[in-house]
């Protein structure tokens, strides 16, 4: 990116071009096509997927996709500043959310860092054209937070690998195309040293995908069963037994979420919707003038303003070197507690309507179902307990938790009876 600085479009020219195209070609954001773990019929979700694929392709054809990705892989060869400008211009508009996290980052980002030339040329342009949606085959039923303890095994067979095991918490595996899979390739070395990462198509013989029904009726999380799945060695990402290095970068990019320079995400969209809807919940619950409800609305807004300020502080501090990259854990702990608290607030404002509601109760309808999932943000993507460990250990320098799996062959690490 740096050597060609003088050749690239300057940010403000780009911004104007993006603005013009967005206003002429995109609709305003609506809940209709929104990705998310909601209880919607399968055909609605599939329509959303198709919509995102088309949107991704249109952005690509307009030169507004993969901004920081090099041109040889179908990107625009621009800078993070261009991406920020695009995100700002997209405020309030629709965007292909299903191609962002985890498709372009962390999956695309890690392909770019560790993938062979052949892999990059095959998959990055396909992602940018809206043809391939990537998911992560990471967590397993045997444990979520202890990622390096995966049991799914890959055994070499000539130019191929044979994978067996089970993966879980894959968002949208039933409609996605490809997966990046962390597997154990050596059981006789300590756990971090025997892992390898592969890319594989999700829909093939040998992979059974099962949708998991969540407490609110959503069925987007999946579990996959891998039985003798054959993956060519050309679809290995990184070194054999070098998978933890790749996984660490996957996690790094994942933690950056919408702050990643790879990710297209309107700078201001969710916020406006979230904030106004609490007010509408109060209105539809008949509590707009109730000081208890108003106190809660004020509290939620305070948290919104504070997370914005905190993210800017942390991002600025990491950029200037005043803070280490691990400081993003501070933002994560705040974000989680804020999400949990906001769900609590919504539930309390709706009051009795959270216990029993009618479809015509407007925004207050269904808050009880939503509240069932209150802890989801404190579990998904790593539990808040893990985030607190990271913060205490890597930011505050406190002693690490004791483990029983260091320095011994993974085969000998104690395991529970359940998988």
């Amino acid at each position: 990116m740096s050597s060609a600085v003088e050749d690239i479009e300057d940010v403000e020219t780009f911004r104007l071009r993006a603005r013009e195209w967005i206003r002429a070609n995109l609709s305003l954001a609506s809940a209709e096509h929104e990705a998310g773990l909601r209880a919607v019929p399968a055909e609605v979700e599939l329509a959303g997927v198709a919509h995102d694929r088309a949107l991704q392709r249109r952005l690509h054809e307009a030169g507004l996709n993969g901004l920081v990705i090099p041109r040889e892989y179908g990107g625009q060869g621009l800078t993070p500043a261009h991406q920020r400008a695009l995100n700002e211009e997209l405020s309030g508009y629709e965007w292909p959310s299903r191609f962002q996290v985890p498709t372009i980052s962390p999956c695309g980002a890690v392909l770019l860092e560790f993938g062979s030339e052949e892999l990059k040329k095959q998959h990055i342009p396909a992602i940018l054209r809206g043809e391939e949606i990537f998911m992560q085959f990471m967590s397993e039923p045997s444990g979520g937070s202890d990622l390096a303890g995966v049991l799914t095994t890959a055994v070499r067979d000539g130019d191929e690998w044979v994978l067996n095991g089970s993966k879980v918490w894959t968002t949208g595996a039933w409609w996605a195309d490809w997966a990046i899979c962390l597997a154990r390739t050596d059981w006789d070395v300590p756990k971090h040293q025997g892992l390898t990462v592969f890319a594989l198509p999700i829909h093939q013989a040998g992979i059974e995908v099962r949708q998991i029904e969540m407490l609110n009726g959503a069925r987007d999380f999946c579990q996959e069963y891998l039985t003798d799945v054959r993956v060519p060695d050309s679809h290995r990402i990184g070194e054999v037994n070098g998978g933890w290095t790749v996984a660490t970068r996957l996690l790094f990019h994942e933690r950056m979420m919408h702050n990643s320079p790879y990710v297209t995400s309107p700078a201001a969209a969710a916020r406006v919707v979230g904030e106004s809807s609490l007010l509408r919940v109060a209105r539809d619950a008949g509590r707009l003038t109730d000081p208890i409800a108003r106190n809660l609305i004020g509290e939620a807004r305070v948290l919104d303003l504070t997370i914005d300020a905190l993210q800017q502080r942390v991002a600025g501090g990491v950029r200037s070197g005043a803070l280490t990259a691990d400081s993003s854990a501070v933002g994560r702990v705040f974000l989680i507690t804020k999400a949990v608290r906001t769900t609590q607030i919504r539930y309390e404002i709706a009051g009795e309507l959270s216990a029993a509601w009618a479809d015509d109760d407007g925004e207050a309808a269904g808050t009880g179902d939503g509240y069932l999932m209150r802890q989801s943000s404190a579990i998904g993507g790593g539990t808040i307990e893990m985030a607190r460990n990271v913060l205490a250990e890597r930011v505050l320098g406190m002693p690490r938790e004791q483990t029983r799996d260091r320095g011994i062959p993974f085969r000998d690490v104690p395991r529970g009876a359940t998988r």
């Binding site: 406006v272 904030e275 106004s276 609490l278 007010l279 707009l288 000081p291 108003r294 106190n295 809660l296 609305i297 004020g298 509290e299 807004r301 305070v302 948290l303 303003l305 504070t306 997370i307 914005d308 300020a309 905190l310 800017q312 502080r313 942390v314 600025g316 501090g317 200037s320 005043a322 803070l323 854990a329 501070v330 702990v333 705040f334 507690t337 307990e385 985030a387 607190r388 460990n389 913060l391 205490a392 250990e393 930011v395 505050l396 406190m398 002693p399 938790e401």
Partner: protein, 373 residues
């Protein structure tokens, strides 16, 4: 406080930090209640004024000036050091009143005294206990004040009191000299013993029209501006005290052993520190965001100042009480310095509107915005 200061700001901060360490070390603060009834020596405040403590919100033409071009941001650096040292001195009222006089272009001779630190002014801007309950009526060429304002910081030491009151058709502000007939200043007790508060009672206090600050009946925006300044200064100071309490407690966790392990090795405690660190960083962040907005007089200034006060006012006391808990018994005694910061934080949290007061006001902002869109 901001993570990245410009060199001039760093120098400014270091000078004040060194002065406070020298003049008001914790061991002196521990004895202060008994030894210095006024809370500080006159020379302490004058020397602080020479370091720039009183001039940052005042225009250059009136003898003021900032370090970075954003006087309030610079002042927050000083306020942060005040909190970090639990320092005495009327930093908030001195600056709020100086800003009011500077902005209105009135009482230049009083402003000069405030800038030099030779006189103290009190700002009667409290929200509770009668803060909005002063009545100002015109009587011929004079203005007559009736009502109560409490608590008022440093009212007992002040030569001048800036009083706002309701008047027919709006809000009026006047500068009342201490000792005016009908004015009583009754000291209050407070948990923060390097601070002094009083109840100000006005019983038909008569002042000439020349006492006006701003335009009679039209001072509401001026009072709102002062309130925003006060909220931001109070938050910056609170965050400094939180930082001191947190640093002290973090060091304790590494040095204190039980069952052969440092406290810092217990996961139950590590997680509490993770939360405290999150509250602390968030408090820094929202306060700095509010300071920048108020300094620039942005449209979001009122909301951000209140959001800062609501957040810092809620999580400041929470953090400090956790610091007490993690210290154990010693945290409940005067033998440890932790209480100096606890006192400052819990007092500031309830002044100039409680967190709940501000949350209710913020709900109004949310509603107004949504009706607009």
């Amino acid at each position: 406080m901001l993570l990245d200061l410009i060199p001039d700001q760093e120098f400014f901060r270091d000078t004040t930090a060194k002065f406070l360490e020298d003049q008001v070390p914790a061991r002196l603060l521990q004895q202060m209640a008994a030894t210095i009834p006024d809370g500080w020596e006159a020379s302490y405040w004058r020397r602080g004024a020479e370091l720039g403590w009183t001039s940052l919100l005042v225009g250059e033409e009136a003898g003021g000036g900032s370090v970075s071009g954003q006087g309030l941001v610079d002042l927050c650096i000083i306020a942060h050091e005040f909190g970090r040292h639990a320092a005495p001195g009327p930093l908030l009222p001195a600056n709020v009143v100086a800003a009011a006089l500077s902005d209105s272009g009135t009482h230049p001779e009083v402003l000069a005294e405030l800038l030099a630190g030779t006189a103290i002014a009190a700002w009667c801007g409290s929200l509770g206990g009668g803060g909005e309950a002063v009545d100002i009526r015109a009587d011929g060429a004079d203005l007559v004040l009736t009502g109560v304002s409490r608590p008022v910081e440093t009212a007992g030491q002040a030569s001048y009191l800036l009083v706002a009151g309701s008047t027919e058709g709006g809000v009026t502000q006047v500068l009342v000299p201490a000792g005016a007939p009908g004015l009583t200043v009754a000291p209050l007790r407070t948990a923060d013993y390097s601070r002094h508060y009083a109840a100000v009672t006005l019983a038909d206090v008569r002042v000439p029209a020349g006492a006006l600050v701003g335009v009679a009946g039209q001072a509401a925006p001026d009072v709102e501006r002062q309130r925003q300044l006060a909220l931001v200064i109070a938050c910056a100071e609170t965050v400094g005290a939180m930082q001191a309490g947190f640093d002290m407690t973090l060091a304790w966790a590494f040095n204190r052993y039980s069952f052969g392990r440092p406290l810092a090795s217990y996961q139950a405690l590590k997680h509490r520190f993770a939360d405290m660190k999150t509250w602390l960083e968030a408090s820094h962040a929202i306060t700095d965001a509010a300071a920048a907005a108020v300094a620039q007089r942005s449209g979001q200034a009122g909301e951000l100042a209140r959001a800062a006060k609501a957040y810092v006012g809620q999580y400041g006391p929470e953090l400090m009480q956790d610091c007490v808990q993690l210290h154990g018994g010693i945290g409940l005694t005067r033998e440890h310095d932790l209480h100096l910061y606890l006192r400052r934080v819990i007092t500031n949290a309830m002044l100039y509107g409680t967190p709940a007061d501000h949350r209710l006001r913020i709900a109004d902002f949310v509603e107004q915005r949504e009706e607009l869109s």
